[in-house]
């Protein structure tokens, strides 16, 4: 698997302060730090590389943070037994289910 970590040239790549809240990068790094050692550290870059998607260290820090929030409930969702749920065909969301 080929992973392209783009060089993070701060003057060129760093967005202007107005596009994100102060301390955003620092917090992302903090959360990413907490994720160190998790399997996601290897799987996420590999998954992105497999899809041909480039990710720099800031992208990966954000992704690690989002993954940390979403993955546990995703696993819970995947474990939910929905075999008894009868599909609603072409649901009309403006109405109660038929």
């Amino acid at each position: 698997l080929r992973l392209r970590i783009l060089s993070f040239a701060a003057p060129r790549r760093a967005p202007p302060a107005r596009v994100h809240d102060r301390g955003q990068d620092e917090r992302s790094s903090r959360v990413a730090g907490a994720m160190e050692g998790a399997p996601a550290d290897e799987l996420i870059p590999a998954g992105l590389a497999l899809l041909g998607i480039e990710a720099d260290e800031v992208d990966l820090a954000v992704i690690a943070a989002v993954h940390g929030f979403l993955w546990p409930p995703i696993l819970e969702l995947l474990a939910l037994d929905t075999s008894e749920v009868e599909p609603e065909r072409c649901p009309d969301l403006s109405q109660a289910p038929r």
């Binding site: 955003q24 992302s28 954000v62 749920v85 649901p91 289910p97």
Partner: protein
């Protein structure tokens, strides 16, 4: 006081009666934007000539001459929406969106475009290509998102009404943080024409943000294209759920919402019933997965590898993360939607409305949007979506109503949800709640928006 400090209905009535000159009201609104907006960043663009043209050609509709702010999510004939972002991941162009046409045909005057959370992807409003929007109640606090600018504009009385959009709570969160009433309509009832996601979305709706329910009824009627008639709430059956949405909240939110529910019960001569609604947390996740999945159709590796450099780091990372979402999880999310729709349908045979706090804590700081809850520290986004996603997932209507001010003088809000098509009932219930508390909270306004003793 200035006519700008009147509510939406009162402004419309005063213009219709000839007591207020609409041109002067427009001038006053533009002047107030100039005066107050630098500390708020709520309005990202004004266009006095276009506004003037709208006024000159305004038909004799229900909002004739009334200034309105519209979210940066809707194209206007002279301006493409930017969705609060440097890049949209969807084609955009100026045009006549549904909300624009509805407002124009009602005689309203669009006075400015409201800021919004970047790509609509946040409940806080602190991230935007235009810079963060500030909460009028405390400018160091989040105004809520993603309809941050419309809410801050209405709360700061730059206008008396604003149009937002709600895909995962995006009308209700800023309404709650800014002390406004905000309606998330039943899916499909309010106009969505011209929205870049309209062909694919199953969650997003346009919705009004105003000081009170009566004003939301008026602006909502315009967006719905039909009159939202007032009805009777006698004997209202209020459902409450013992779950994180009502339990894992700050003590002041819990107390204010509990007081409001009891006041609503007493006002309507109704009853409060404890009901069960399992898997609420999963329904929030399902909403996120469905919303994220609906925009994946336009995503390619090529596009993700050449994102606009001014897109925020959070947007860049989350856009890339979306493509890694397991297909099985998206399929499960659809099943959870079916499950929750059936459960809600059964529940709304037992109760008329469901009630729980709109958000579990008042507006967090702009610089660190975290909330301290009994369960621990969460990001505001994590905490907020728990109680809001259900209405978007299932298509049901919901309304956020101000019910108090916390220790730090920040608004607290109660959310009411009803069955499909019962948007009018929510407005009725909100008005009953206003009567019950003597309109104390809908008439509260932030210090910077205290009424001015001037003529409009």
């Amino acid at each position: 006081v200035s006519a700008l400090d009147l509510g939406l209905r009162a402004q419309a009535a005063a213009i219709a009666a000839g007591d207020v000159d609409a041109a002067e009201l427009l001038e006053a609104s533009l002047a107030r934007i100039e005066q107050r907006n630098p500390t708020l960043n709520a309005v990202v663009e004004t266009f006095p000539e276009r506004s003037g043209e709208m006024l000159e050609s305004a038909p004799d509709g229900p909002l004739r001459g009334v200034p309105i702010v519209i979210k940066d999510e809707w194209p206007l004939p002279w301006r493409a929406q930017r969705f609060g972002a440097a890049e949209l991941m969807a084609p955009t162009a100026p045009g006549e969106s549904g909300p624009y046409r509805a407002l124009r045909d009602a005689g309203a005057v669009i006075v400015g475009v409201g800021n919004m959370h970047e790509l609509g992807a946040g409940s806080t409003g602190n991230v935007s290509v235009y810079g963060p929007c500030h909460n009028p109640w405390d400018t160091e606090r989040c105004p809520g998102g993603s309809s941050s600018g419309p809410a801050a504009s209405a709360a700061a009385r730059l206008v008396a009404g604003a149009v937002g959009a709600d895909g995962v709570g995006s009308v209700r969160f800023p309404a709650a943080y800014c002390g406004l009433t905000g309606l998330k309509p039943t899916f499909g009832r309010s106009t969505m024409e011209g929205h870049h996601a309209a062909p694919v979305t199953t969650t997003i709706v346009s919705g009004p943000l105003c000081a009170d329910a009566g004003d939301c009824r008026l602006l909502g009627s315009v967006l719905f294209g039909e009159e939202l008639a007032a009805g009777d709430t006698t004997g209202l059956r209020i459902g409450i759920v013992r779950d994180a949405v009502s339990e894992d909240v700050t003590p002041e939110v819990r107390e204010a919402c509990g007081t409001a529910i009891e006041a609503l019960r007493a006002e309507t001569g109704g009853e409060v019933r404890e009901v069960s609604l399992p898997d609420l947390e999963l329904s929030a996740l399902a909403t996120i997965l469905i919303v994220n999945g609906e925009v994946l159709g336009v995503t390619t590796a090529e596009r993700l590898n050449h994102l606009h450099p001014e897109l925020s780091p959070i947007a860049r990372g989350t856009l890339k993360y979306r493509v890694l979402t397991p297909a099985a999880a998206v399929a499960k999310a659809g099943q959870v939607r079916t499950l929750m729709r059936r459960r809600l349908a059964a529940l709304f045979d037992e109760v008329d409305v469901l009630a729980w706090p709109t958000v579990p804590a008042p507006a967090p700081p702009l610089t660190e949007p975290l909330v301290e809850l009994p369960s621990g520290t969460l990001t505001a986004d994590q905490a907020n979506v728990r109680g809001a996603g259900l209405a978007n997932l299932t298509g049901t209507p919901a309304i956020s109503v101000p019910v108090g001010l916390g220790e730090e003088r920040l608004p607290i809000a109660l959310q009411l949800q009803a069955a499909w098509g019962r948007d009018e009932l929510l407005l009725d219930a909100a008005e009953a709640l206003e009567r019950a508390n003597g309109r104390r909270w809908v008439e509260s306004r932030p210090p910077l928006a205290e009424a001015e003793p001037t003529e409009a």
